[in-house]
Amino acid sequence: MDLATLLPFLVNVIVGGLVLGFVYAIIALGYTMVYGVLQLINFAHSEVFVTGAVVGFEVFRVLNGVEMNGYLKLLIALLAAMLVSGGLNVLIERLAYRPLRGAPKLVPLITAIGVSLILQDVLRVIEGFQGRFDLTYTLPNGFANKFCAAESTCAPLGNFLRGVGIDMQLKDVILVVVALISLAVLNYIVNRTRMGKAIRAVAQDRVTAGLMGIDSNRMISATFLIGGALGGISGVLFGMKFGTVNAYSGFDPGIIAFTAAVLGGIGSIPGAVLGGLTLGVIQNLIGVTNILGMVVGSENLGAIDASYQRIGAFIVLVLILIFKPTGLLGKSNVEKV
């Protein structure tokens, strides 16, 4: 394979990685927001996110018979998933984490693992009653098509993408757009509204924030609501991207998204996005090393296949934690004694 064919191929791999990275980034935000406020790894977030994916699946399934604009269906699916996942996350916080504030750190962490296990089986049972295990997304017509099949139907953006040789499906473009909009809204909420200011205050110092008249419990609930809603969005996007979801499929993306949050600096919102994108690209690159192997002429590289993608994420995590535990954009946290 020569450079002329390799380059566009690599560009596509990287673009594919970025698309994937946006999904991870939105999941990672769910971890990072909760961690920023409570210093708790919400292990249950991966199930909150799968719940969003399941809700999205059900909405698409129900609306499939209805004559309706595809984008409207997507919007309904996203809103429903945000509502359910956000509500679920608030509920989890109320029932499982709030009674444990102030307990040693190990205690809420183990609770989070427990909640995650419970949710997995609850989801499995609920879907199992309909005789389903693997939920296959049926997207509205045209979503899985190439972004621009023929030159005549291409928008200017499509023409540009074609020009540089990027090959995207419509659903990928939608995914990136939805992710960018959610990031913009989140950024607005956190940085421009009163509630965002209060959340940041609680994250920084709960006691002082309380003295200033901020109801820290309400702000923590709000954080869980926002985190859960982001989880819902990412669930739908994940379902769109990968096509199938089941009750246990939260583990892998959950762990990668957590790695992304740590990579960017846990607690930092831009960090989570940066980490997500980086890991998406790394993961896609690991997936194609066999082709790189063909280029280099080495057969050994071909042995590294997709099953090593997960290992890749963990190795990245170990390396970051060893060399820069605060992550790329994180601030160092001086421990007071």
Partner: protein, 542 residues
């Protein structure tokens, strides 16, 4: 400190229950023996049917095992307690197991998990390091024996016989030379740095030597395999079972080494980071087992794995009336019993040793412990390696018992299962952890499947069949224990103080403000209970 003191905690003011204990033991033993005696049950007619029912059976097994718990808990004459414990484990259980092999199997499983839970208890309960990849060490032990005692070994030899590379006796010599030289220089540098402060040069040369050691060992190992490849046909069923005893030691060593290797880079991390990274490394070991097809046969798994060959024990078992195919199970039962006993003993001794107190100090407050001169990394590594070695030896016995291992036996869910045993029983409490292991294993292997079988005809849909709800039940155990009784069923006294000291203090954690102190939230109060803790730290008895 004498050994009986570990059984003799403070029980003043309780009535003496010797007679009750003996009566309970006799009744439950009789019921157990009857309910597992097939021919006898036939004769009993409908009562026999009732006793054979999986739920009643699970109930009777639980009641019988409760004997041992009561012997530990109740105030009774020492001879009665010892008698009940010994007779239950050495006479009644094997006797009932002679009629029903699944009972022996169950007891072995319980003890394997008890040993795992004891190991994890050192890491989580004593040293406070949440390890979510614990089952990886179990896998190391299992594969150490599994590869050598199965046809896999011959496959590996054949492969290297066909692809010898440049390896011959010369390479072996170089490898051994390199190993010896680097090992010697490591020891030398280590001695040097113990007398004077380590410099950058000494640190780097130590690392270089370590690298050389790994290279030397790899070369030597590869050369040995190539030179041995001619033997492949003779080893078609794996190595001689007589090596079982050697491997019992090797699996401990291998798991401990892997524990140190995993521990070295990650033990600088704390709390949640450590949890997630151990989870990750556990998964890495599973993925490796799944992908290194030559060594682990990938997802197909390795089978058949041999067990030790002990003719004298077989003849003894034969004399006791056990049939031929029960011999190896009885042997493993006795072996596991002994190993669990040794592990328990090691645990109790470690808990009261300097290192045990260092672990607890680190768990309670890392910074303070460091300030008091506890070497953090070293102490944590010892905890990791000790926990790992228990898992390693049990992994090997597990492989010998199942005669089959595959990566699926070592997934994250298993790690969480062991964790839930530790938490259910009580972190840091040895009898509690064993109780937790027994309860969870019974739940998994007997009670849930029994309930599933019993409800199969009641029209309950397959999806909510109790046999399928393991995750839900584990999850509920974890959450409920954390919310209601974080100290566990049989709490460790010291741990209880720590988790409930807020109750006695002026408490501002109720309205959610205590955590505002961030990482130090819980520890800040420890000064208040320092005297109480101090007393406990001073040793077992007061």
């Amino acid at each position: 400190m004498s050994l009986p003191s570990m059984f003799d905690t403070n029980r003043d003011g309780k009535p003496d229950r010797t007679i009750l204990l003996i009566a309970f033991f006799l009744i439950t033993s009789a019921v157990l023996l009857v309910s597992h005696n097939g021919p006898l049950l036939e004769g009993l007619g409908s009562a026999g049917q009732f006793l054979k029912n999986p739920i009643t059976e699970a109930f009777f097994v639980s009641l019988f095992l409760a004997n041992i718990l009561f012997a530990y808990l109740w105030k009774a004459a020492p001879w009665a307690r010892a008698l009940v414990g010994v007779a239950s484990l050495l006479i009644v259980l094997p006797w009932a197991g002679r009629e029903d092999t699944s009972l022996l199997d169950l007891s072995i499983q319980i003890m394997i998990f008890a040993a795992l839970a004891l190991g994890l208890n050192i890491v989580v309960g004593l040293a406070g390091l949440l390890d979510l990849g614990y089952v990886a060490f179990f896998a190391v032990g299992a594969y150490t024996w599994g590869i050598f005692a199965s046809p896999r070994f011959a496959e590996i030899l054949r492969y290297y016989g066909e692809n010898p590379g440049a390896t011959n006796a010369g390479t072996l010599a170089i490898g051994l030379f390199l190993t010896v030289v680097t090992a010697a220089s490591m020891v030398y540098i280590n001695r040097l740095t113990s007398r004077q402060a380590p410099t950058a040069t000494s640190t780097w040369s130590f690392r270089l030597a370590a690298f050389g050691l790994v290279a030397g060992l790899t070369l030597a190992a590869r050369a040995t395999i190539v030179l041995m490849s001619g033997q492949a046909e003779g080893l078609a069923n794996g190595i001689d079972p007589g090596f079982f005893w050697l491997f019992l030691a090797l699996s401990v060593l291998a798991a401990a080494i892997v524990g140190v290797l995993i521990g070295l880079p990650v033990l600088r991390l704390k709390g949640d980071y450590l949890a997630i990274i151990t989870l990750g490394l556990g998964e890495v070991i599973r993925v490796l087992a799944n992908n290194l097809d030559l060594y682990t046969a990938g997802s197909q798994g390795i089978t058949p794995i041999r067990s030790a060959n002990v003719p004298w024990f077989n003849s003894l078992a034969g004399a006791l009336g056990f049939t031929e195919d029960q011999h190896y199970l009885l042997f493993l039962y006795v072996l596991v019993l002994i190993v669990v006993g040794v592990i328990l003993l090691v645990n109790v001794r470690l808990d009261r040793s300097r290192i045990g107190r260092a672990w607890i100090a680190i768990r309670d407050d890392e910074v303070a412990a460091q300030a008091m001169g506890v070497p953090l990394v070293q102490t944590k590594l010892i905890a990791f390696a000790t926990g790992a070695s228990f898992a390693g030896i049990m992994g090997m016995i597990f492989a010998a018992k199942q005669t089959f291992i595959s990566p699926e036996s070592f997934n994250l869910f298993q790690s969480i299962g062991v964790l839930s045993m530790v938490i259910l029983g009580g972190m840091g409490s040895f009898p509690g952890v064993i109780l937790g292991a027994a309860v969870v294993t019974l739940l998994n292997l007997r009670i849930l499947p029994g309930l599933g079988e019993a409800t199969a005809n009641l029209g309950i849909p397959q999806q909510v069949n109790p046999g399928q709800l393991q995750r839900l039940i584990f999850g509920i155990i974890l959450v409920a224990m954390m919310l209601l009784r974080p100290e566990g069923l049989l709490p460790n006294k010291r741990r209880t103080l720590e988790l409930h000291h807020e109750d006695n203090q002026e408490d501002d954690s109720v309205d959610g403000n205590a955590g505002a102190l961030g990482n130090t939230g819980a520890e800040v109060y420890s000064a208040g209970v320092a005297p109480a803790k101090h007393e406990d730290n001073a040793g077992g008895r007061k």
